[in-house]
Subunit: 234 residues, 4 copies
């Protein structure tokens, strides 16, 4: 493998973790970002339980798609490593994954509720309600818990397209987001938290609020995404 | 056209966008402020999808009242340009428009609820409940969506006076505010968010709360506005 | 009158206004603090509608107890001046008054609800529920509105002791607090906002929550106040 | 007693109090942290009613397990001293105690509600719902109030293990947390506030939400605690 490329991967993943730490979404050592080099099938991920403040680029842990550490001297990878790997194995177009316990998105996950699509802010980023998984089964908790958490997310996307819905709430747990690279997955985590906050407040005002209609959802999502997008300078 | 005046307009609009970025109302590249020079009928507006951090005065885009770019080398104007223009064409006394997705005002927009006038803080700035538009019709979403959004706001003000109500919530979307100049429209956006927050909390405490009575509304609005105002140093 | 003492009074009132501005309770030019020199019966108060940022000690306006400006060249005093004066005339033991539109206390005022005494944090500072006034009558809005607002507060305290309850919510408006000096009245405003926030959240969790029992209220209030207090270093 | 060790204890307790002050959980002079040297049975605790800003290491007050001041010239210890001591006497494995009036945990205490265990964030730190005490009896308020508050917490833990539940809400009052040392007890206070915030929001979304199932609780608690823990770098 090309050492230079792996170094670049580590740097990207490090930068994304630092961005996450500065986003206000993180408390203590919670949260982690990973990225993958699809050519060599190597993932870099935050080490487990290490404070963001003292972290260095070289602390990022390189892991193969099947979970082996690439560099023996690395610290332990995030305890959520197997969840990340399962997402990379199944969502083959993604290049980065972010996991947080951010305050509003997690509140929805704990309430076992999808985040309804109540406005165009939501529609600008996520194509419809952000789904919530089933509660994980007991047998999955006992064996390979983190791997099974990944499988649970993949199952939740059986009839969904991971390319227009960059996020999943794991019931009783918290959100995972993804994107083209590590940085994009952090962006998705930030936007997810914001639209969760908006939805929380709208629901407080109304009890139940219906999703926006499909035409409006389509308009806003496609204004920013896909071949007919006209937002920005492209 | 006088180049000096257009430069001044760009500077005013730039300053107002920077103020908005520092107000805490904005996340990511959301939000935009425009201003108009009524003499030459030229609007300046934030470019589309450009981060606030690197933005320069000269990035502000000059557009005619009918929507043509004045300087060919300009970046693309905000994707909400046609909404701004429709407001300038109809609310002929205004000189600045601000659009945000601010957290509390947008929660009301998503709940399709006007912001009731529950106290004198509200009455100091907005003369009665801040209206919410109808949900935009499907045909308006398909053709000229941003222009139709402007028309929707104008229709919402058919029997209202845009001079004592500087704000409109677009249902399932978010707020637009306006004022004498770009800076005033940002001030309105900031106050709108604050009174939305107050109303949100009062409603949480009560379920439903009635608007304040007309005499109190009149007193406070007129203490700060119009010929009998006695607040401040004028 | 002793010029030196009036200068000291201005300085105290200025410092308290700056403290208020830095407390997070204030938005825009809202809010004002006053203080009184009981010997010469002169009040100093923030000028009307002037931003906190550029404000100078000498901008504080000196006013007699009956409302005349002492120094002709002063800016206009706060538009709430007559409310402050009415409180000084009736609550003869107080030396400072603070007025804010702080986010949680105002939410209670807008909901026309007293802040129930739900815990010892509240009991440490306010002896029982913080009262809310009646809604001001129409005739009082039309004539001498600010004076009548003061009278409304005084009426709310007809059977209450202003010495163990340093705060009043004016219905549909916002809170006034007071204390031995200007600085103490700001402290009261800060604590009022905090216990309003706690109560807001407890009520959200329960719908209705009862006040704490009298023995607990007495214990905590008297731990910090009066002859048997044993909190602190005195 | 070894002067060097007591100095170290003071330093640890001082550092933990400063950490608490910087955590955003504290307003005014509220809150206090203590630590104990189990060998010599001496506790160090924050002095009563002294601002965090000017506080020095030497202001920490040394007290014997039965409540006598060790150094005569010390300031008065926290008025909550007897509560801390009662916890050290009964929870013999702990080395630090923190008391706060933090905004969300206190809201649950005021609502007289335990914090339900709604997600894995909670399960990572606290093994099940965080209990709330009974409301303190009148006779306990009158005599030795702070000691009785300690006894109330101890009684609440009659059938609970203080080693896997580092926190207790005192009804109508606020939380106490503990840990191996002063710093750990502050960490517990910070995590308690965070999971209280998450629970508050989940409850707002649902009315009532059930606790997570035992298998998931076990998995997460044991991922971070005890002999089979695999989180972090140990």
């Amino acid at each position: 493998m090309d050492k230079e490329n792996l170094k670049k991967l580590k740097k990207k993943v490090f930068d994304a973790n630092i961005k996450l730490a500065g986003s206000g979404l993180i408390i203590s050592t919670f949260g982690n970002v990973s990225g993958i080099d699809r050519e060599v099938q190597v993932m870099a991920i935050k080490p487990s339980g290490i404070p963001y403040s003292g972290m260095k680029v070289d602390d990022m842990v390189l892991v193969s798609l099947s979970g082996e550490k690439i560099e023996e001297e690395s610290p332990n990878p995030s305890s959520d490593t197997d969840t990340h790997l399962e997402l990379y194995r199944n969502f083959t177009g993604i290049g980065g994954v972010t996991h947080t316990h951010s305050g509003y998105a997690t509140a929805f996950a704990q309430a076992k509720k999808a985040i309804p699509c109540l406005g165009t802010t939501h529609a600008d980023y996520f194509y419809g309600p952000v789904p919530v998984s089933e509660v994980i089964e007991d047998r999955c908790i006992k064996d390979d818990y983190e791997l099974e958490t990944g499988k649970l997310i993949v199952r939740t996307f059986k009839n969904r397209d991971y390319r227009n819905m960059n996020a999943c709430l794991v019931a009783c747990h918290s959100p995972f987001t993804w994107g083209e690279g590590p940085d994009d997955s952090v962006e998705s985590a930030i936007m997810l938290e914001y639209i969760a906050k908006l939805a929380y407040r709208s629901i407080s005002l109304e009890g139940t609020v219906e999703d926006i209609k499909k035409t409006l959802l389509d308009k806003h999502y496609r204004r920013k995404h896909g071949k007919d997008a006209y937002y920005g300078q492209k």
